[in-house]
Amino acid sequence: MTFRTRLLLILTASVIVSVGLVEWLVLSTTRDAFERVEAQRVDALVAQFRQEFSRRGSDVVRAVQGIARSDALLNIALASDSAPYYNEASGLASANGLDLLEIVAADGAIVSSAEWPARFGYKEDWLAGTAGWQNRGAFLRREELPDGFTLGLAAVAEVRAGDRTLYVTGGQRLDRAFLSSLVLPAGMRVLLYRNLSDGVSAANLTDSSGAVAQPEPFLPVIDEARRNPHEFGREVGSGPAEETFHIIPLQGLQNNLLGVLLVGSSRREMVELEAFLRNIGIILAGAGILVGVALSWWATTRVTRPVHALVASAEKVAAGNWNATVDLASGDEIGQLARAFNRMTQQLLAQRERLVQAERVAAWRELARRLAHELKNPLFPLQITVENMQRAREWAPEQFEEVFREGTETFLAEIAKLKQIIARFSDFAKMPAPEMQPVNLNQLVDETMRLFEPQLQEARIVPRADLDPELPSIPADPEQITWVLRNLVLNAIDAMPQGGSLTIRTAARNGGVRMEVRDTGHGLTAEECERLFTPYYTTKTHGTGLGLAIVQSVVSDHQGHISVESQPGKGTAFRIDLG
């Protein structure tokens, strides 16, 4: 990831986080404020509803007491036979706006029932004695009708005529009509669940329009209210259809749960406003982010352009073009950095020149030193041989022939060494450029292993080849690579005079190949590993010390890399990465 990209991302992320954080704060603050306002509104609505409900209750009480005080009831109380009045309740109920009305004798027998005329004579035992309705005003009751049960908001009044008593119990049904008759503010609705059966049944849930269209969301709320009757609030629905419901359990005279009122306030306005604000916020945030990103990009571009220039120059330098300079004229830190870079590259150039000079000088000196060292070795035997010949002619002429003979052999051997050294040096000096072609290393390894098979066998060395069958072909000079392989194998044989194992592995790696030649010989120390590829450095008693230098040179010409891993006594592994 480039610096510009990183910087752009950081700036963009900063903008996004900032804008997002602000947006979130605004929204959450707004939502909290709305929630508070909504809660207050719901409380006010619930209070208003309670008032309305209470007013209806008062209406019922008033109507029932009015009926109890009427002449009609007095006549019934005084009549010795109440049979003629069995149909009286119906007219009284409709005249007083009641759905339910029963006139009950002192013994609890129904004289007249508006809601179920046929029930005359049946007993309403709950009226007699201490049924708890006295001084209760309006209360809830479960009423039985011909077609089932219903809930009613009822009141009871007593009629006394001398020693005769009548009870008047009347009320209004808590049903769809009752709910639709309640005066409610806009956005508010009331649902009534009539607890008339075991278990929660959606059929018992009604609103002012009748059966609730989608009762499923309310059933868990109702179940909670049934299990633990208390007032609580709950949100139902989602999105614009979400509503805040205030749950009010309705209990009868014996504190039994007869119904549940759900007073709902639509959160549509708040939700829509919230959504509007959120959308605006998102739009603004998005716009802000876009602007921020654009600004960030412009800023990063401006900021990173000199950096890019710096980077480009640095890359050039890294690629070896030490003449790269950064052309920046700004006076800021980037300009200072550019000027420092230029100075650095110039210094690096100069240093490189000097280094190259020094290395060249050092290399020549080293080469001269090694060459001198190498050349010097054969010269000493030559000198000794000449001195031996001189001494012998002068002092032991009888041994001069033998000495001359031995001496001349030594001369010739040492001259051969000198020739070899010079030849190797010449080889090293004039290593040709590799001729690249697609080469399969596995094939070269096979050929090399077959070539050295007798020698390995004689040396009691077990050859192993662990070759990757999927090894790709790489561009290489097969002769040079073969020369490398052979060199390494010879070194490995030299490292295992007592025998061992030689393992050659090939594997595909990072788009190229790796070849490893591992032996189980005496191993090398760390210092030896460090100097292993230095020309004329050798650990062997024979050889010119140029083999691994040449190997390294070949590998370098193939744009590859060679490394060594070894520990004394544990063998040595040469790894060559090519391709």
């Binding site: 069995y86 179920w116 005329p117 046929a118 005359f120 004579g121 011909p146």
Partner: protein
């Protein structure tokens, strides 16, 4: 002083007393000729010609003759000069058909009608200026089961669950009589032999042995005035474990609450006609009350028909109508002796 034999004297005294009584009777008000009796009925007879049989207008055929007939609307009967027993006092009888009972009662009280039919609701309403004629209990109110109700236990359970006493006391305002037989007591003399007591415990016991699907029964009522009674019967049946749903006229109902008119005072004839109307088998001709009782009891076995009450028909009569009653115990119209106060020939 003439001396008369004692027995002659006593005989004279006797006849003197009779003649005095007769003279006193002659001193009572005499009927007036003239006037039109205005009658209203609820039934709307849609036929093209006036009815020839049945209680009601058909009974006027002897002393009166039809001079105008508008089927379903109105009819006018005029007095026959050569009627048997003498020309009726009334000039004519005007009949309005298809009038609701409530409207008839209003017309009577406002002076627009002289003779109207009264329902139980109208009977209850006090009307001091109104006099009432009523027939004997000739209206049989009964439950009649459809043939598809084959399980006798269902019929018996429903029959046992009905609390006739409460219905009679409250809904019928103690008019008429509770009945367990097809014929009323005044015709048969043995109606009390048929049990009318409810036995809800036994009804519940029977229902408990019924499969659930057999416990649902539909009950229809032909006339709206029978609705309260039907609903009360449904409530009684519910207490016994039956599920009875009520509806107005429904030919497919399992049981109907209906009203059948007794049209003969002869017990054997009345039983045969009533059985025929109810779709029961024709009873054998009975030559004694005991045989008739046996026949009637056989008709009621199986609870295909459950008699509940016998009610009279009630008629409100305006104060200007004299010479009554113009309705016989069977409900036949006898207007030939009626006359109107204030009318002039």
């Amino acid at each position: 002083m003439i001396s008369l034999p004692a027995n002659t004297l006593l005989m004279c005294l006797r006849w003197f007393a009779v003649l005095s009584a007769a003279a006193l009777a002659v001193a009572a008000t005499r009927p007036h000729y003239g006037g039109t009796l205005r009658v209203e009925v609820a039934e709307s007879i849609e036929t093209a010609d006036p009815p020839q049989i049945g209680p009601g207008m058909a009974d006027l055929g002897g002393a009166f003759s039809v001079t105008r007939w508008e089927g379903g609307h109105a009819a006018v009967y005029s007095a026959g000069e050569s009627a048997e027993g003498g020309r009726p006092f009334l000039d004519s009888v005007e009949i309005q058909m298809g009038r609701a009972l409530r409207d008839q009662a209003i017309d009577l009280e406002t002076g627009k009608a002289d003779l109207v039919e009264l329902g139980l609701a109208e009977i209850r309403r006090p009307a001091p200026a109104r006099k009432i004629w009523n027939t004997a209990p000739v209206r049989l109110i009964a439950l009649s089961f459809a043939p598809r109700v084959t399980d006798e236990r269902v019929r018996e359970a429903l029959a046992l669950s009905v609390d006739r006493g409460a219905i009679h006391s409250v809904l019928l305002q103690r008019q008429g009589e509770i009945s367990g037989g097809l014929l009323p007591q005044w015709i048969s003399g043995y109606a009390f032999l048929f049990s009318t007591a409810a036995d809800p415990a036994r009804a519940r016991s029977i229902v408990s042995g019924l499969p659930p699907q057999a416990r649902a029964v539909t009950l229809s009522f032909e006339d709206p005035w029978l609705r309260p009674m039907a609903e009360r019967i449904a409530l009684n049946a519910r207490d016994a474990g039956l599920s009875v749903s009520t509806a107005g006229s429904n030919p497919a109902a399992d049981v109907r609450l209906l009203e059948v008119r007794i049209t003969a005072s002869d017990p054997s004839v009345a039983l045969a006609r009533t059985a025929a109307t109810l779709g029961l088998a024709e009873p054998p001709r009975a030559d004694s009350p005991e045989a008739l009782f046996t026949a009637e009891r056989a008709l009621l076995e199986g609870f295909r028909v459950v008699p509940l009450f016998h009610l009279p028909y009630f008629y409100g009569v305006s104060s200007r109508v004299r010479g009554g009653p113009g309705i016989t115990p069977l409900g036949e119209w006898r207007f030939e002796n009626l006359w109107l106060e204030g009318s002039r020939p």
